[in-house]
Point group: C2
Chain length 304, copies 2
């Protein structure tokens, strides 16, 4: 059986992972690959060799290649300036940067939010996922991309209008591995009851995270939670705090079904957490970054 002709190679190249998609002229993903070849693992900035190694056979056709993620950062292959908000398909398509020596390589910009009254915020890579899911949608949609730094975004009529980064996942990791909270924790199994207990505590007022973190130790000391539940409890406390911050703040409430983007186990945790907070959620389809690559490439006129 002959594979349908490909029209585009999409590469989602982040800090710790590399994902490649072979995409046809209608946006369908013909093949996908993933490798632990994030930009931090690339020696001497030799990104060209890594791309050749991971997807060289796909490059032989001379197809256009769209690259998103930290590959377009200062630590990556070629630094692409941030694009301002609101940013939709036309803005991103118009901000692609071609590699000077390999003009079929097109790098996507990240996004910057520069509020007058707060610190800047940035993302790189999530814009392809957000526009893959919502770049052609109308109306207003709140989306969440769980991860090391989870991103909340508001997309209005196909344009990313606002986003915010939460360091929840990284905070969980450093507290578990390097703080006193990790010392009582045992095992890696998810404990649904302990996770809910963490969510519940986060939802209750008054108080805040700094004064609550120690509970992930004391509940163990007083044997109110088993050692095997303390990590799930901390995860619930942190994700719950993120939800309380995000949903209690600036985010409008006129469309309450949150779109969860991603495929990790963390997405399931966020769905449970949103549900505990009374917010319904729905999931994006898989390979949504590839869809974003396709829509942006099509808007930029890169497809045959």
């Amino acid at each position: 059986m002959t594979e349908p002709p490909a029209a585009l190679i999409g590469i989602d190249w982040g800090t710790s992972s590399f994902r490649a998609y072979r995409i046809d002229g209608t946006g369908r993903v013909l093949a996908a690959r993933a490798a632990a070849a994030g930009i931090l693992s690339v020696a001497d900035g030799d990104f060209a060799s890594v791309l050749q190694r991971e997807a060289g056979d796909w490059l032989a056709d001379g197809l256009p290649v769209l690259l998103s993620g930290m590959i377009g950062s200062r630590q990556g292959w070629l630094e692409v300036p941030y694009c301002a908000l609101p940013a939709g398909l036309p803005e991103l398509a118009g901000s692609l940067i071609r590699h000077p020596d390999q003009p079929r390589l097109h790098f996507l910009p990240g996004l910057a939010r520069l509020p007058a009254d707060a610190a800047p915020d940035v993302l790189r890579g999530e814009e392809a996922q957000l526009l893959g899911a919502l770049g052609e949608a109308s109306g207003r949609q709140l989306a969440v991309l769980p991860g090391t730094h989870s991103k909340w975004a508001l997309v209005e009529d196909g344009r990313i209008a606002w986003f915010q980064s939460f360091m929840t996942g990284e905070l969980f990791a450093v507290l578990r591995q390097h703080s006193i909270l990790g010392r009582l924790m045992a095992g890696d199994t998810h404990d649904a009851g302990a996770f809910q207990a963490g969510l519940d505590y986060a939802r209750r007022g008054p108080g805040g995270l700094l004064g609550r973190l120690f509970s992930a130790r004391t509940l163990g000391l007083f044997e109110r939670l088993p050692a095997t539940g303390l990590a799930s409890y901390l995860s619930g406390l942190l994700i719950g705090t993120e939800l309380a911050e995000a949903l209690g703040g600036d985010v409008p409430e006129d469309d309450r079904a949150v779109l969860l983007i991603g495929t990790s186990a963390l997405v399931e945790r966020y769905a449970e957490a949103l549900s505990a907070f009374g917010w319904p959620s729905r999931r994006s389809p898989p390979d949504i970054a590839a869809k974003g690559h396709y829509l942006i490439a099509r808007t930029a006129g890169l497809l045959p």
Copy 2:
């Protein structure tokens, strides 16, 4: 010149440090010693040898010895059950535990707060400092003990009525050493302007810590703060968040001059932070733990 006769040896023995005080019959500190001999550094639970090494010459007189801090925890020499709140000199004096083989060694209990609607909280060691400063005072006083886990406490007519632990100091350390936030940071010099910028951001609403932490990176990325100021900024953001949580929550406001207990550089930071929040503060005298040891020993009838 002859040293006045000592009446008590006080030992403040925590996780990472050992402090010993030779105290006379009026509560005056005749001599003080400190060593990096915290309980985590003691091999094979041989606390007796470490005590002998660090203060053996003081022990020769057969004086009573009062020990406070993590030495009385499960990881220490002898586990002393937590004392409930409110706890003043009579409660702590009545909760001392003697070492079964060395009856002149008296171990102080820690304190537990067990609210019906929240997680338990505990402290060990700070009770001696709090009662040293306020065990004989009348009225109501809010006190803060900055540290790895800072403690806020309310003392009413000489009794500790409430306290709360904030993991602020440890969070700063793990974020600086192990998270992406540390990567842009340079140098160890305090940057007063950056510290204030962190305080300011913490004080402003709406929003919370998880959504603000990333600013300690983006302000560097956008060159709004120098790399040498980012650690001070993060410190200000965290301490400011702690203050916003503590002062905005349950703590009564009827005595607004906060007592700061401790001698580290961190105490100066908390004083600056309280001032930025409009709260005056005052400092406790040094060696306040020794004063606590003295008052508790006297109340327990241990002094000659």
